[in-house]
């Protein structure tokens, strides 16, 4: 997918000016956040926190053993009848998919929601090869009609209001205008049905791969993924290498936090644990199931101090909790993943220089870490990425200024002189329009001004008067 992360500030300006976007995102993220609180903590705060830590440990254990676990997954999946292959990058992944489709003379592809396929720009490649590809997740279907990428990990069309979606259906599919959400959904179902039936290849991602049992796990609420993975004769699953976990028991733990954190459900409507293609004697299911493990930069991340970012289970809770995301939406982040996890993953996967503003797109409030079901220390990573920006000289434009500042703060005398200078300067320029970068403060906010007398001056005077009162 095209990366526009360098333009975060300009993109977020557009988003902030878009009242529809802000109200749609605020409404949906707040609702998801509140539902999560109930679902995760209804037993007791201790239960919610305990299961969160258990999930964090399951995912970290998997990451520690990732190379071995991938080999184990390959053999258990193969033993179950899956065709397993590997793709080092986006181009190779796209090519593998195209090869498999050609091998089976596929023409119509039904697709279940997958962020990885967004990452590798799969749809554009399929369309360029004259294949028809239909996104079947309702949200994805809508944004595909509107020719835009998803703006949230699990709620791709979170940035649109109901009225905007109605207009898209009317414009693109000649829907009879209605404001009834139920009618709009029924209309989409009807439209999608023929694609489900006609598709000869289904494409999905995966929430988890269980190495122990050789299973592919997919959770969903609309059932579209089950249609994509069972009706066509060929099913291709694209899976990031970080999705492998050890055991079925780990899956039980992780699924509980995934659904609770993502949608506030104890269980999604559909839970699919796929254990291979149709077997002898079975009357349905695809004859061929391919799992393509995609690296696309993940091994490089694995080798750094940011490996923990690979623990992400793509629940979207950090996006819902992030006050920056809530105000600017996902598209402002310029690439596949928005919100705090995007501010970390985009620089890691696309290169720091191609995502320089993102580590700064956070007030470091810590909500993301607080809600993360696997306890990824996102604020720590954002801080470390900021340090990388300076150390690797990608963005160190404040170096001189902060060096001077540090030199001042290093000496109490210089500090006090500096404070006096600031007080004097304030008399000259006032506090309405502060100079330099501080003008960005007064553009939006009033500045209270420096006090005529500093605390340390007051303290000195107090000490002097105490000494007078109590001569020693």
């Amino acid at each position: 997918m095209h990366n526009d992360a360098r333009n975060f500030v300009a993109l977020s300006d557009v988003a902030i000016a878009d009242a529809d976007l802000r109200s749609a995102v605020a409404l949906a993220t707040t609702r998801a956040y509140d539902k999560r609180m109930v679902a995760l903590f209804e037993h007791s705060p201790a239960y919610g926190e305990a299961i969160r830590q258990q999930a964090a440990e399951a995912k970290r254990r998997a990451l520690r053993n990732l190379p071995d676990l991938l080999e184990k997954a390959e053999s258990s999946l193969t033993a179950n009848g899956f065709h397993v292959s590997w793709a080092i990058d986006a181009a190779e992944a796209r090519q593998r998919v195209l090869d498999i489709i050609r091998q089976h003379q596929g023409r119509l592809i039904s697709k279940s929601k997958s962020m990885l396929t967004e990452e590798i720009g799969l749809n554009a490649a399929l369309e360029a090869a004259d294949l028809q590809v239909i996104e079947t997740d309702l949200g994805e279907f809508i944004i595909q009609l509107n020719n835009e990428p998803p703006s949230h990990i699990i709620a791709p069309v979170i940035h649109k209001t109901k009225a905007q979606i109605r207009d898209i259906f009317v414009r693109e599919l000649n829907m009879t205008p209605t404001d009834d959400a139920g009618e709009m959904v029924a209309f989409a179902r009807q439209t999608l049905r023929e694609y489900f039936v006609g598709a000869d290849v289904g494409i999905s991602g995966a929430n988890f791969i269980i190495a122990e049992t050789g299973s592919l796990c997919l959770v969903m609420n609309e059932g579209n993924g089950r249609m994509c993975t069972s009706l066509p004769n060929v099913h291709i699953a694209l899976v990031g290498i970080e999705k492998v976990i050890e055991t079925l028991e780990d899956y039980a733990t992780l699924d509980q936090v995934l659904t609770r954190s993502g949608t506030g459900q104890k269980l999604t409507v559909y839970t699919n644990i796929i254990n291979g293609p149709r077997r002898g004697g079975e009357s349905d299911g695809p004859e061929h199931v391919h799992v393509i493990f995609v690296d696309n930069g993940r091994s490089d991340v694995y080798a750094t101090k940011y490996a923990e970012a690979l623990a992400c289970i793509r629940c979207g809770a950090c996006q819902n909790a992030c006050p920056v995301y809530r105000n600017v939406g996902g598209h402002s982040y310029g690439w596949v993943y928005g919100g705090p996890i995007g501010a970390v993953l985009t620089p890691l996967l696309e290169g720091l220089e191609n995502a320089a503003p993102l580590p700064h797109a956070s007030s470091l409030c810590g909500s993301c870490k607080q809600v993360c079901p696997v306890d990824i220390d996102l604020p720590r990573m954002l801080l470390d990425l900021r340090a990388d920006l300076v150390d690797e000289k990608v963005d160190n434009r404040w170096q001189m200024g902060l060096k001077g500042w540090a030199l001042t703060m290093q000496s109490p005398m210089r500090y006090e002189l500096g404070a006096q200078a600031a007080r004097l300067g304030q008399r000259v320029v006032g506090t309405d329009n502060l100079p330099g970068v501080l003008g960005n403060w007064t553009k939006y906010r009033d500045f209270p001004g420096f006090a005529p007398k500093s605390f340390r001056q007051m303290w000195r005077e107090r000490e002097r008067s105490h000494r007078k009162e109590q001569p020693s």
Binding site: S12, A361, S363, V390, A406, W441, D446, F450, F455, R456
Partner: protein, 259 residues
Amino acid sequence: MGLPERESPVGKRVSLFVTCMVDMIYPNTGMSVVRLLEAAGVEVDFPMGQTCCGQPAFNSGYRDEARTVARQFLRAFANAEVIVIPSGSCAAMVRHEYPTLFSDEPEWHERAVRAASITWEFTEFMVEGLGLAELGLKLPTPRKYAVHDACHGLRILGLGKSGRVLLDAVENLDLVSLKDADVCCGFGGLFSVKMPAVSDAMLGEKIACIEACEADDIVTGDVSCLTQMNGGLSRRKSAKRVRHVADVLAEGLQETTDA
């Protein structure tokens, strides 16, 4: 990463780190802290060598510059028995960041760990440190306040309810709730000038909650967040303001002392 364990500070002299913003912009808030500590029978000392904790540089990724400033903090507080800071954010910098900031410099690391293990945020010091929930305070006139939880105090230090506990015990003070009290005000240090429009959008949401709240004014534990919120309230011509918890508490002290 856990926070270092602390010994009981009861009976020890307190060295006040007033923070650079309080020193230069809100000196009266610093005096409120001193008066409250002294009213609680605590001996207060103000090390003159103090400047800033280094957080602006640290949060922007300039670790060398942050270390330069942090060393000055460690020098200034080398002889402190207990450090009290009227800011959750600066206290979190010392408690949470200093030890890792100096992980490659054994001598400074030791000093950083020591500082981290004697540092308290002001309300936390009163409630958790001294075990004082009730300061015997009374406001001159009845007033309604609501608390905004500043992020670093809440999520890094895990401050919980110490500010509310102190406020709740004040006579004539009616504590009401603020919607989304734990959502960031959009300050974020240099974030507020690096991404001013985003910061202002966040501030706008916070101000909508403040306006809708039945409190006369809002109380918080960090002058940085307070500056952001008051900057926005003032620009939007609101009658409400955000006050530092120490200033609100100290008002009750005046009444008690005068009576």
